[in-house]
Symmetry: C2
């Protein structure tokens, strides 16, 4: 599923690359990847997809089939010859995958030949935007669920093969396991699952269905109890089977509620199970769950041990997309800017570095500072637009966020497993104060500019003024 050809791009990247090829084939460009808004009206974002991008870029080539196709689309022979030998040789500085990030500051910066950095734009945005969206969604659901188990069950409603990457991102954001076998296989994620209604329907009676299932799956048996009637049929039958399992020395792992009022049913289920001495049987709940429903279930003290989340997780509903962009910030060593009538959308020029301010307790202070990559020390951060606002940085320690991850087309960091990235995300989130994590009107994580960067930007804005 990671077998991309370089034609995984927008046509205009190639159209533009051909013009570069004709007019300035040796030019060097710097592009920034960043987004403009935290998804889900939230206070933070979890960066995901970097490992995949490094792998894809190391292997990105145009196939013979690609070249034949492009031959029919107004591309010239010498440029197609260039594409035949295409390889990405650029360099990348990036925030670490799994880190907590915020809007309007570079997450990743690509430097290289202008044709190469242009052609990779689409795949880079495609992979990073989506996984960052889903990792953030997963992290919000994890925030609601506390220490409870979270299972990704979304593949059937995912955006076709995008579901493969959704599962990876969900694990990074804090999900415990997934129903998605191929993603579990490739990303070393725990695979899990229960049973479907069809299984029970294929039997004349529910009890026999449960019995057969329990026998084949003695160690890891979860019974779905709502096919006909949860409290009158499914649960009594599950209790019968649980007792039969006990006699064989096995233990029923859980029952799953997949419809109806989950708070009410979970309480009634817990009561019945406990009354039968089955306090160890877990309750799994599913059915259109999201961070808000789970929060509400917990506030009602619904005794649910495991949540299965599908559609809302893997589609990143309601946002559906992260608004990540890839903007030219430097060309042959010269700072470049993109203007906009909306002041917030004016891009930050030049090759940059991002610093995270740390407070006395080792927690994130609430501000990142962006400076020119060439600056050695930054003693003061300025508000991006309000010239009356500034902050002295002498009393803060800081972290450098953008680190080299690829040089001349070769990755320079060790491969990281999804489990390692997930753990890192969890550690980083623990450093973010609670007010940035709440769902309603979260605190805004500030951005400041170094004086030199602000001056560079303001000079370019003036130069392009009409």
């Amino acid at each position: 599923m990671l077998d991309f050809s370089a034609s995984y791009t927008d046509l205009y990247q190639l159209t533009m690359a051909q013009v570069y090829f004709k007019t300035k084939p040796k030019s060097v460009a710097v592009f920034d990847y960043y987004f403009r808004n935290n998804p889900f009206n939230g206070g933070y974002t979890i960066f995901a997809g970097l490992e995949n991008i490094l792998h894809i870029l190391e292997n990105l080539r145009f196939t013979k089939e690609d070249i034949s196709f492009l031959k029919m689309h107004d591309f010239e022979a010498d440029f197609l010859e260039y594409l035949t030998d295409f390889k990405f040789n650029g360099s990348i500085f990036s925030v670490k995958e799994g880190d907590v990030v915020f809007p309007n500051r570079p997450i990743l910066q690509v430097t290289g030949n202008i044709m190469e950095v242009q052609i990779i734009e689409t795949v880079l945005l495609n992979i990073l935007n989506f996984q960052t969206l889903i990792a953030t969604k997963a992290s919000r659901i994890r925030h609601s669920a506390g220490a409870r188990i979270l299972i990704d069950m979304g593949l059937r409603r995912a955006h076709a093969t995008g579901g493969y990457f959704a599962t990876r991102a969900a694990a990074i954001g804090g999900f415990s396991s997934s129903s998605n076998v191929i993603a579990a296989r490739d990303f070393d994620i725990a695979a899990s699952g229960t049973m479907a209604h069809s299984f029970i329907q294929s039997y004349t009676n529910e009890l026999q269905a449960f019995r057969d299932f329990a026998k084949t799956r003695p160690k890891n048996c979860v019974l779905l109890v709502d096919t006909y009637n949860t409290l009158k049929s499914g649960l009594p039958n599950a209790i019968t089977v649980a007792k039969e399992m006990e006699k064989r020395g096995d233990k029923l792992l859980g029952v799953r509620l997949d419809s109806g009022d989950l708070a009410y049913l979970a309480k009634a289920t817990r009561k019945l199970l406990d009354a039968e001495g089955l306090a160890y049987v877990k309750i799994v709940a599913s059915n259109q769950l999201n961070e808000y429903v789970i929060k509400s279930l917990n506030e009602q003290n619904a005794p649910i041990d495991i949540f299965g989340v599908g559609t809302n997780l893997v589609t990143g509903k309601p946002d559906a997309a992260l608004d990540g962009v890839y903007k030219l910030s430097e060309y042959n060593g010269k700072a470049r800017i993109k203007l906009s009538e909306n002041i917030i959308k004016i891009s930050l020029p030049s090759k940059k570095q991002v610093y995270r301010m740390i407070d006395d307790h080792g927690m994130f202070y609430g501000a990142d500072v962006v400076g020119l990559a060439s600056e050695e020390t930054i003693s003061q951060m300025l508000h991006p637009f309000d010239s009356n606002k500034s902050l002295d940085l002498q009393n803060f320690t800081h972290e450098v966020l953008l680190k080299e991850v690829m040089t001349n087309g070769n990755r320079t960091i060790e491969k990281q497993t999804v489990a390692e990235i997930a753990k890192y995300a969890q550690t980083r989130l623990s450093l973010l104060p609670e007010e940035y994590k709440r769902f309603q009107n979260p605190h805004i994580y500030k951005i400041g500019l170094s004086e030199k960067l602000k001056n560079t930007r303001d000079r370019l804005v003036t130069e392009h003024k009409f």
Copy 2:
């Protein structure tokens, strides 16, 4: 990108299959694919993805890697041996791809060995749900755009590789072309594209950028005019280049507006272009368009010739997913049902056929009838729940909607190109009266049951009553 292994599934399909393997390996099951609601609060849905599913099912196998992975997940040796030789040998009846379809009646019906039909559930839902969602979205945008050109530009915001299938579905729903090169290559869709802001930023001045671009692309040149200032810089520079092109015997194809008030800017742009004798230069608009924005632009008489649509198209925003399900309706020749506390969610049992009623003018009459596949004639349709409502069918002609497309694992219909499917969708939509296509409170396309089907369902509901 269509290279799926059979582990593209949910773990529980394999868990259940193992129980079937142990207890009833020769059983035959029938599953229905259908959805419960038209997406986007609309009055119809465009069915898409069938060609891909037929291809995937013909080639679905477990790889060595899959088997090794499953070995570590509680599966037994004899079942893994079965999976090693797994091949889908089932049969499928389906609505034709591109047809107009409606909720709660079978779109596709799969018959086969219970293990096989269970294992394919996930990939079938994954591919059909998503493409059906996007083809429907595209069709709505086409409805707003009338005869104007529509370009899919969504790959960078699509759900990772799901974007490949989004582009295919967009073409089926009525899009004219796509920026997505790899999808255009594989599905024979017209590829198109303009230029990005970065191209212009890489030059010291916009005019030179436009000149270089126009020279390399004399026949198909669209200039992006909003990098610095649309009316004061981009457009005057584009006019200069258009005139230079005329002198060389070329013609500027268009200018693209990508920010600001598109209605206002399009009118101002048209006026300026016309005043300069450039009435042939087209106006392309993009920036967070959807069916509602395009409708509004048209109502304002914005002189836009081409719309570029991205995020809202390829993510199916705001719905994000079609609620398609796959339910067991027959097991070893016996009718099966899934109950629900919500009467609408009770499934229709047995192997079925769907008939579309046609009125005197050859248009869709507004009702589909569902009967048992074994019924030869259906003279009356009954309301699914209200026993006072029925309709005599003697005066209607009808179409049979479910046709055989796969037998014993081999497709039985000719391969269809995306262009053919798109044309079919257009033809079928032209038979659907306008009141089903409007966005606000569209007419509801009715469903009726044959008496035999209704009796079968009611009998099963009674049998499972608590």
